[in-house]
Symmetry: D2
Amino acid sequence: MNVNRNIKVTVWNENRHEKTHKKVAEIYPKGIHGAIADFLSQESDFEVRTATLDEPEHGLTKEVLDSTDVLIWWGHIAHNEVRDEVVDRVYDRVLNGMGLIVLHSGHFSKIFKKLMGTTCNLKWREAGEKERIWVVEPGHPIAEGLGEYFEIPQTEMYGERFDVPAPDTLVFISWFAGGEVFRSGCCYNRGRGKVFYFRPGHETFPIFYQPEVQRVIKNAVRWAAPVNGPVPHFGNVKPLENI
Amino acid sequence: MNVNRNIKVTVWNENRHEKTHKKVAEIYPKGIHGAIADFLSQESDFEVRTATLDEPEHGLTKEVLDSTDVLIWWGHIAHNEVRDEVVDRVYDRVLNGMGLIVLHSGHFSKIFKKLMGTTCNLKWREAGEKERIWVVEPGHPIAEGLGEYFEIPQTEMYGERFDVPAPDTLVFISWFAGGEVFRSGCCYNRGRGKVFYFRPGHETFPIFYQPEVQRVIKNAVRWAAPVNGPVPHFGNVKPLENI
Amino acid sequence: MNVNRNIKVTVWNENRHEKTHKKVAEIYPKGIHGAIADFLSQESDFEVRTATLDEPEHGLTKEVLDSTDVLIWWGHIAHNEVRDEVVDRVYDRVLNGMGLIVLHSGHFSKIFKKLMGTTCNLKWREAGEKERIWVVEPGHPIAEGLGEYFEIPQTEMYGERFDVPAPDTLVFISWFAGGEVFRSGCCYNRGRGKVFYFRPGHETFPIFYQPEVQRVIKNAVRWAAPVNGPVPHFGNVKPLENI
Amino acid sequence: MNVNRNIKVTVWNENRHEKTHKKVAEIYPKGIHGAIADFLSQESDFEVRTATLDEPEHGLTKEVLDSTDVLIWWGHIAHNEVRDEVVDRVYDRVLNGMGLIVLHSGHFSKIFKKLMGTTCNLKWREAGEKERIWVVEPGHPIAEGLGEYFEIPQTEMYGERFDVPAPDTLVFISWFAGGEVFRSGCCYNRGRGKVFYFRPGHETFPIFYQPEVQRVIKNAVRWAAPVNGPVPHFGNVKPLENI
């Protein structure tokens, strides 16, 4: 029973733009991870901490991951600096039940590509155009508290074809002023874990301060929290019936 | 946020076998609806009531349905006695967010067939054989608290081909001693509502007293509870952009 | 083996606008059914005929349906005039393997709503705006011969939320100049049959003369053609193993 | 249009059991690849060749893969000997449209795990027990020509939980005498390519001589053959509309 159970959230950020781009540092003075941790911490059922690329083991030690229910991932220019052993550790935890929420440019992270089994490639354009995100599955928990659509006044465009497996559930589709569409909210079951890809969120636009974006991420944390289901036993087994 | 929100459950039962079959009355002295309401009432976040076919409007007045979050449905020999206007009322409520859990022989109910768009036909046999229900999606909320499988010592067999649309999520597959298999736990989104079909549960076997069966139904109630998502506006609309 | 097997296509049209609207009659002098039959007839593996609402039994007698592999459906203002017994006949044939392609305003036809189990409602606007249809599943047979997207210069808008079950496969998503998106190419398995909903196609725009639209419909006919798979046997069965 | 287009099939086999186990060599004197190539070659629309692990580049040079429409994969004891660069080459070809059919113990091949994004682990038992494979999607092209089920008299058991993403389409479910079930026919879209996992096929049982098994593999070849759909263009793009 999920009621009254605290959810331990770790917000991971590459945290490189914040150090090198003045504009990013101005918009996100605590880093993107800090901004996300701030609004998540307002929820009484969340316990929130952060981790970043330049910490030892990228801040994702076995101890941290073992005590993480949902991991939020933001990366962009340093995907290749994430060490494979840490990627494998995150991967094992997802398959064993940890939720994973991948934001925006995280579509090209090693962990997302490994879990999807595809290139996760897409079209993109940085023109500060308008995005309108439509809810196509209004009964889904991730749509809780939203209207039929919400708008992001200025954003980077991501366009189809988005090279991912068809999501187990498609929650959002984006409309862009420049003429493209995108599957912007994609739910996947992988092993015993849940993965949610959410498109919005750019380093030079204040997108993570938008109430609707925050709402979606909060909803996604609750949706992706581990379930205490069966732990499969793999390998050689004896028959359960007389053969 | 779902935490601490009570879920209003209405357990609907045809309640005919209980009146005419001594054996059924012995196994389920309060009726199948009574047995289900009993174990659901042990959950502190559920408010449970019952309704039956022979009540006025089958106990499913507009007032009852409007105040129902999740409706549980058991019927068998009197599907055709359920009036179409009540079926339509339940249908409208499901599409507007009410959860619906259809049990066992409810596969042939008017409401389930109407929501599925198919015959919902299947193979069956009453031989009291063993069923073993395997969890194939161990991270799904409906699998919470279960082992890798559970067994029903004696049951009616339902076998494939089960003529339903492929479920949005398939949670359980049954093995039967007589040689058949069955998709026994099927999740569907329909409109803003959620539908769960759960195979076990027969009138002449004490299946609703089994802890695993009770656990699944409790889990399904929480999974199917309405989400406060957007209410779609249909029909003619003005453009959101200059055309 | 599908090679060299002819596909019998019946194009059904309500055929009312053509009789009452001069503009429609000018664009589609043979009726929408005639225009569709014309381009389908160019394919050497198709045998094409038409049927319309005002024919006896709407042109869909048992004999016609029994010898139809794929039925194409166009209706708009007279959905309610289609008799339930004919709808049931079409429904039975789909569940027994006949393909069904539902075009544009056919989303509100009795047969489509019955097969979907939902209202099939949506947003709409007649402003002659531009639509751009993006292929999101480029390996699907219905995308054969297309580019990454194609445009319809002037069309009626259909917008989300489209109240249908999530398609088994989503092939197209539309972008509209007015700011909406739409799941425009939706594949469904129902019983032994296949259903394809295709959004484009309006009575006052010459959409069915566009090569890309014709290509999609041709592809869909081949995709939806019946497969000689097993005919399920339903009902009471004997065990296949000793119990 | 698929009609009359030849499909180039390459049958890949590890081909190790055949060299070291007398029993395997007796059952499959031409190797498992030879047995599969033999029955596929009877189809007039297939061009068939084979490739094995110990050939240079495992027989899967760029030239071979570029001229392969559908690749069939059988491996068991030497998955780790398949070089990563060849795996990457196969992976790129699948995402660019080549069909891939993975047989039995190939579930643990590098290529299948890479495309699935999960462990692909399962339960197993070598007891020569009976398997009954039920068709759950009778309208699917891979079920063409089959009955409602077929049996394999003696086989190795594979049991759930099968740690793969939920298939885009589930075609077969297996029943085993020892009490397990398995999702035995799983269709996936990955990139522009199609992947089919088919469970039956063991080295010490003459399973690939069974007509039903041969039929499924032939059907799967036709289903997985490339479609001439759009080739997505990824990366930075200009707007299609004035922003």
